[in-house]
Amino acid sequence: MKKQALLLLCSTLFFACQKDLAPMSGCTDNTAVNYSANAITDDGSCIFFSTTPFIIETPSGFPDMNIPTNNPTTVEGVALGKKLFHDKILSGNGMQACASCHLQPAAFSDPNQFSTGIDGLIGDRNASAIVNVGWNNNLNWDGSAITLEEQAFEPITNPIEMNDTWINVENKLNADGEYPTLFKNAFNIDYIDSNHVVMAIAQFERTLISANSKFDKFLRGETQLTASELGGYAIFNSEKGDCFHCHGTQMFMDNLFHNNGLDPEPFTDLGLGKITNNVSDNAKFKTPTLRNIEFSAPYMHDGRFSTLEEVVEHYNSGGEYSITVDPLMKKLGVGLQLTNQEKQDLVAFLKTLSDSDFITEK
C-alpha cells in the first residue's frame, strides 16, 4: 500500500516534468497476472492468479492422502496433467505418451510383459498400474522414487522409454500453441520448466482413485457377493490364505516391500536392494494394490504370470527359498494347499475388486 502511494507520488512528479506523455492506465499491482509495468494509474482491471481446488475425496477406510504443500491439486493442474499424460510431445520422436505404456483399460498398466520404448528397446519390468497411487509411500517396483513428482521425471529421459531430454521437452512445450496458456492458468508461470510438467502429471495421477468396485458396493450394502466370492473373501482374510498381511485393508496393499519367493538365488533382479545397497533388501519388490488386478495383467515385477490363476498357484505351491524370502511365505515348497474350489473362490474374490468406472471414466 505504501509502495503504491510512493509509486503514485513518483508518477505525479514524473507527470509534472513530462507533459508530452499520455497518462497510461492499467493494472499497477505487480502480483496480478495482467500487471502492466508501464501503467501509471490503476484502472481497477487487475486480475489475480487463482485456481480452483480439486477436492480429493478420501474413500472409506483410507487415510488422508499425503499431498505436497507446494503442489496442491487444482482443477487446472489436473486437467493439464491429464493432457500431458496422454501427449506424445513428451517423447523423443513424438511417438509415445505416458499413456502408451499405462493404458487405462489395463488400470493404467501395460498388458505386455515388458514395455517397448521409442527406439524399440525393451525393459525388464512390467509397467506398474496407476491405481490409488496418491496413497503410496514410494513408487516403482523397487521404490526408486518417493513422490509422484519425482517419479514422473524419470521415464521421459530414460533411453529405453521416452528417450527425450528435458531441455528439448521444455522447448517443445514453450513453443506449443496451447501449453503456455495452460501452464500459466495452472501455475502462473511464463516459462514452462520440467518441475511444473511433473507437478501437473502428479496432480493428475493423484486423481486416479478407484473405490467403487463390486467389493466396495458390497461393503456399502448395495450388492451381494456370490457364495464363491464370499468364500474367497474369507480365505483372503484368514491365516490359511494369508493374503491380507501384504494386501490388507481397503487399500489392498501394505506400502512395504517383500521377497515373495519367486526365485532362488542368485537373483537376477535385486529390486529394492539395488536402490538401498542393503543385501537384506535384495529381491524385494513393492506390494501392488489388488484393486483392479483383473485388468492389470500380467503380474509380478517382471510380468511372469499372465493370469490370476497362475498367481494363486504360485502362493499355493509355496515359492522358492532364498536368504531374503519373507517369513510370511511360511511354508516354502509346501504352500497353502488350497483345494481347487478354494483357489477358484480366491480368484472370484479378487475380481470383485474390479472397478469398471475406473477404467472407462473420461
Binding site: 482374510n237 501394505d254 536368504i323 519373507d326 517369513p327
Partner: protein, 264 residues
C-alpha cells in the same frame, strides 16, 4: 527456597533504594538444566520443563538383537532368526509420588527397520518425583478398533482383518527357524473378540530435574517363548488361535519387558 526468595527480595529492595534504574523481576524458569531455561529470568516461577528420553531396546538372551542371523535358540531348543520386529506400546504413563499421572504417548509404534522409532522424547515434563512408569503392550479393547489409526505410520501394514476381530496387530515378530529355514510369524493381537493386551507397571525412582534423563524399556525376545509357557515356533499362523495368544500374553506379562533408569 523460601529463604532464598526472601533474601532475594530484600536485596532487590535495597538495590531499588540505591539505584533507580534497577532491573525488574522477570518471572521464568531459572534452572539451566531445563528445556525452557530462561537466561533473563530472575525469579523461578515453577514453570521449568524437563526432557525425558524413552529408549526402546531389544535383546535375545541379554544381547542386543542382531537381525537376519540364525544364531538364536529358544526354550524349545529351536534355532531361529529375527527378520521383522514391530510392535505397539500404548498409554505410556509416568506416575508421581503425589498420585498424579502424566501420559507420555497414547500409541507408540516401534519397528527395527526404522531406528528413529527406538526413541521417544518427551520435552515438557514438570519436575517431580516419579515413582512408576506403566505401558500397555498392544492396544486395549477401547483403542483396538478398525480405522482408529488410519493416519498412523503403522497403517496399513499393522491392520488385523475384521474377519478375525478387526483392529491392529500388537506385535509382528517374524523370522526363520530350524535349519531348513521355515518362516514363523509370532503375531499377537485381539483374537476372537478377546483383548490380549496387557499393562505393565514398573516402580522407578526418578527425579528428572537438572538433567536430561533416559529411561530404557527393553524387550527380551526369547522370553516370549519361555516363561511360564514353552512355545514352539511353527509355520502355522496364530492370529486365529486364541489359546496361543493367551500363552504368549502370559509370557509377556511375566518377564518380556524390563525397565532401566538412572539411579540418582
Amino acid at each position: 527456597m523460601k529463604r532464598i526468595f526472601v533474601i532475594f527480595t530484600t536485596i532487590s529492595l535495597v538495590f531499588t533504594a540505591c539505584e533507580k534504574e534497577e532491573e525488574e523481576i522477570i518471572e521464568g524458569c531459572t534452572d539451566t538444566g531445563a528445556v525452557n531455561y530462561n537466561t533473563n529470568a530472575t525469579n523461578d516461577n515453577g514453570s521449568c520443563k524437563y526432557n525425558l528420553s524413552l529408549n526402546f531396546t531389544h535383546t535375545v538372551d541379554g544381547n542386543l538383537l542382531e537381525t537376519d542371523q540364525m544364531i538364536y535358540s529358544n526354550a524349545a531348543t529351536q534355532n531361529y532368526s529375527v527378520q521383522t520386529l514391530r510392535y505397539l506400546l500404548s498409554d505410556i504413563t509416568l506416575h508421581s509420588a503425589n498420585g498424579t499421572s502424566t501420559l507420555l504417548d497414547e500409541v507408540h509404534f516401534i519397528t527395527i527397520s526404522d531406528p528413529s522409532t527406538f526413541n521417544l522424547d518427551i520435552q515438557d515434563l514438570n519436575s517431580a518425583n516419579y515413582t512408576a512408569i506403566s505401558f500397555t503392550m498392544g492396544l486395549d479393547a477401547l483403542k483396538n478398533i478398525t480405522d482408529n489409526y488410519l493416519n498412523e505410520s503403522f497403517f496399513p501394514s499393522f491392520s488385523w482383518p475384521d474377519f478375525m476381530g478387526g483392529g491392529y496387530h500388537y506385535m509382528q515378530l517374524e523370522g526363520d527357524y530350524t535349519t531348513t529355514f521355515q518362516g514363523y510369524a509370532t503375531h499377537t493381537g485381539g483374537t476372537d473378540g478377546i483383548d490380549f493386551s496387557f499393562t505393565k507397571n514398573f516402580p522407578i525412582s526418578l527425579n528428572i530435574a537438572n538433567t536430561n534423563t533416559t529411561v530404557i524399556i527393553n524387550m527380551e525376545i526369547n522370553n516370549w517363548y519361555s516363561n511360564p509357557n514353552i512355545i514352539n515356533l511353527t509355520t502355522d499362523g496364530i492370529m486365529d488361535n486364541a489359546n496361543k495368544q493367551a500363552l504368549l500374553q502370559a509370557n509377556g506379562i511375566t518377564d518380556v519387558f524390563s525397565v532401566f533408569y538412572p539411579i540418582n
